[in-house]
Symmetry: C2
Subunit: 364 residues, 2 copies
């Protein structure tokens, strides 16, 4: 059923024109998972298993009324438990729920994985298994690093950083949800046997490698507003119009010079580059910025690991490694368990391979 939701969204957009009819869009797109659960239940029954499809409102998965991006408020477990006790496999429609008015809602992108985690949490399940097209989370993208290794365990926090940095295994929202409700989450393959990768809370008994994985994100772009007066409120003056235009901003770096002027740099998805640049041209005049610079041939490379917290010197090792390969670092951004750098896109693969080797990920 791959591509079905996109097909439905397109149908809706064709009819809606420039408008957004959010309630109806949810009625439309929720039909996709309805088809899937019916077909999966049939397939299970054909194998001689008892199975029962359940729609969001039949479970019921209660949400708020934010059509297209609803949040789950509560999941009833009576109907689910009744099905389980009757020996049936409940095949629940993900991505959808029902709001207090009885209106159908959808959870937005990542909604299906989030539904699964929420059901596991509501039922107090031992583990939530997500079967997908990869067999686990790797130390780096195997297409880039041939010696990349499947991780048997990773923490929620690491997974969040890896997921949001381009390792498209699980949607960050589902990982966040699993972390909040402490639902052990296992990513495994639909097609091949194996234990996959268990995403779980930090465990003292777990080996804590310094770095768990190298993530990368291609198709990035950066924009710099140079020579901006360094006064309070300038960041929101610059980013406000960008955010209102639904352009997602990722890294943000601000350096103050000696002249009371500052350079403000941020990254966006490459597809949003032209639009963001246009917006900035207007803003630049208002705030009397000197100029706008941009580059839409950059990539982001990150090292992620909870072990970093307690080990100094990881950043230095990363920067030295890149320098020894003659890769120039354009931007740096750090969090407790992650260091991200922006480099020219052409160096991306080289950077990922060098760092994978530097932190000995093929063997640890």
């Amino acid at each position: 059923m791959s591509g079905e939701t996109n097909r439905l969204v397109q149908l809706g957009k064709d009819i809606s024109g420039a408008n957004t009819f959010a309630r109806e869009m949810d009625v439309l797109t929720a039909s996709g998972e309805q088809v899937s659960i019916a077909l999966l239940s049939m397939a299970l029954q054909r194998l001689g298993l008892s199975a029962k499809s359940m729609l969001g409102d039949q479970v019921a998965i209660k949400t708020d009324s934010a059509f297209g991006k609803a949040r789950i408020s509560h999941i009833e477990t009576n109907a689910l438990r009744a099905a389980l006790e009757a020996g049936a496999i409940p095949v629940v429609a993900g991505f959808q729920g029902v709001d207090p008015n009885g209106d159908l809602t959808t959870l937005g992108r990542g909604g299906s994985d989030t539904s699964a985690v929420a059901l596991a949490a509501a039922l107090g399940a031992d583990e939530c298994e997500i079967c997908t097209d990869v067999d686990g989370v790797y130390t780096a993208d195997p297409r880039v690093v041939a010696s990349a290794r499947r991780l048997s365990q990773v923490t929620f926090e690491e997974m969040l950083e890896l997921a949001s940095l381009g390792s498209k295994v699980l949607h960050p929202r589902s990982v966040e949800f699993a972390g909040r409700y402490r639902v052990p989450l296992r990513v495994m393959s639909t097609f091949v046997d194996g234990d996959g990768t268990l995403i779980t809370i930090e465990n003292d008994n777990m080996e804590q490698p310094l770095v768990s994985g190298i993530a990368h994100a291609r198709d990035e772009a950066k924009l710099t507003v140079a020579g901006v007066p360094d006064i309070p409120g300038i960041a929101s003056k610059i980013l406000g119009p960008v955010g209102r235009a639904n352009v997602e901003v990722d890294m943000i770096v601000q350096n103050t010079g000696a002249d009371g002027l500052t350079d403000f740099t941020f990254t966006v998805k490459r597809e949003d580059y032209d639009r963001a640049r246009d917006l900035l041209e207007t803003v630049a005049k208002e705030i009397h910025a000197r100029e706008i610079n941009g580059d839409n041939t950059i990539a982001k490379v990150s090292i992620v690991g909870v072990g970093m917290r307690s080990h100094a010197g990881v950043a230095t090792r990363m920067f030295d490694c890149l320098a020894s390969e003659n890769i120039n670092i354009q931007m740096i951004s750090t969090s407790e368990i992650k260091i991200s750098v922006v480099v020219a896109e052409k160096y991306m693969e080289l950077a990922v391979r060098a760092l994978h080797s530097e932190f000995d990920l093929e063997n640890s």
Copy 2:
């Protein structure tokens, strides 16, 4: 969205193999109208109208639990009336309902029209308008009879006979429902302006023409079990296995000869001919029938009109008309407001045109 239900049914059959998973098939096929109501609501809203899609269980349209062919037991009108009072156009999913267990059901073929009529009945509407791809009910198929005329009014009973006899304007079930609940039903075109045809209860003020229309059904076949002992229960012995194989039997004629033997003839859809014939070969041995004959190149032609009730001689006029064209009548079946004959398929158009002219339908 034409063909969507068939596409979904095929998906379900592909997965189910030789099995029938009725509950899940309904979950699957109900998604088609869900898509349609969302798209229609969007289209109406884009035109500046207030519209609100409503699923079967949101209305609620309560049915029994006969998946795939559920019967409507009751329709709640509170949610509908609330939408109407708020000035919104309720766009209700046809073909679907919800059973006492909260399971999704579908009404089977003709279900969408039936839903519309049931809603009109529940709301006490003045009229139920069905917009379709033809602009009304004609005295005969205009592709066969160039001078066929659109009827401004027709009775429920006439419409039932016309519909079940091959004038595929409305599904008989919806007409039956409208008749039972006395909901005036108007068939009109989605694409061109016009009053369409009003289907209503008999009215003394209405002109009652002798014959309202000529219906025909191509793709028929007949089977004769010849030389059967004329004893009680023989009809069910012959038709039992046919019915259990889901072959729909239409006309049934039985003639008793002088020798205590009888010939038993019935018609089926042409696509069921081979299957029905195979079944009969087995039955024929059990009941010691002399032989099985069949013809799969026949058609059915019928004249329909409530006026027949009070006028003798209509049948004679029909038979004389066909005889004067040298058309042999193979079977005859009559009801209060209909006379059907089976003729060789090649004479079908000629028979329809001759009868249309005989009963002066182009002018009345």
